[in-house]
Symmetry: none
Subunit: 161 residues, 2 copies
């Protein structure tokens, strides 16, 4: 397995600990940790592996040094990031500021996004996904990205989940 997939809802205990899904742990590998920072577009928490974080820093530094854009991005991403270490039982402690950003209390959802993943308050993510589905339906471009070749006309058998 090479990518993060699925939506895993796990409990957040009294100490702020939460189990990282076993699938995800396997992908994260040996330096058992990852980077997390609040998304600047929604209530989720962006989670990146070390290597993705590295390439992201390359990208950001490719921008004009000292430019406003560079400064903003660097601040949004790096300054507000945490390194979350996974303990011997496969859990991490969610820092309070991240929990507050996401509105997480008793439960959290680990959401696979391919090369990255996110952490959400479960109901919040349900809502986000519903919206994403509606947007995709309205947006032909999104549908064109589907792996299926020439399928039947999509409007024959509509249904959601």
């Amino acid at each position: 397995m090479t990518i993060f997939v699925g939506t895993h809802v796990n409990k957040v205990d009294r100490k702020g600990r939460v189990s990282v899904p076993a699938d995800f742990r396997a992908l994260l590998g040996s330096p058992a940790n990852f980077f997390a920072f609040p998304s600047f577009v929604h209530h989720g928490i962006e989670c990146l592996t070390g290597s993705i974080m590295d390439s992201l820093s390359e990208t950001v530094h490719g921008l004009d040094l000292f430019s406003d854009e560079q400064d903003n991005l660097a601040d949004l991403i790096f300054a507000s990031s945490y390194t979350l270490g996974i303990d011997g039982d496969g859990r991490v402690v969610l820092p309070a500021s991240l929990r507050i950003h996401a509105g997480i209390e008793g439960q959290s959802a680990f959401v696979g996004k391919g090369k990255t993943f996110q952490i959400w308050e479960p109901l919040d993510h349900d809502q986000f996904q519903t919206q994403a589905r509606e947007r995709a339906r309205a947006d032909r471009l999104a549908l064109r990205q589907r792996p299926q070749g020439s399928g039947p006309t999509p409007d024959a058998m509509e249904n959601g989940t």
Copy 2:
């Protein structure tokens, strides 16, 4: 070359297990698993090989990082996906949410789609296929602009190429 063909109906047992057709297993190869997610447009379950999923993730990540478009697509595809591992006996466990989406209870139909395949509730798929056939026939009639008594019975879809 990996081409999934045919329609194979297998039982789903009490534990939610179902045998993956031997043909399909042979095509899936050594990392004996595949990715499955509910279709956006019908009641079937879309099934993709790891390599197709990988290239899909490349495509999605080629979009602007943290853009709405990227985030939406990644959520629809990856967040609702499951990695289904094939056990030593050639079976997978269908997660409850996928079974519910497809309306699967006692039986499931593995439907070859070329480079991908789908899983359906058998009767549902029959119906879908009938409709697809009627649409195809209607399109041809429209193109030819001539009436036709009893249409030809296209009996493909049941054999190899």
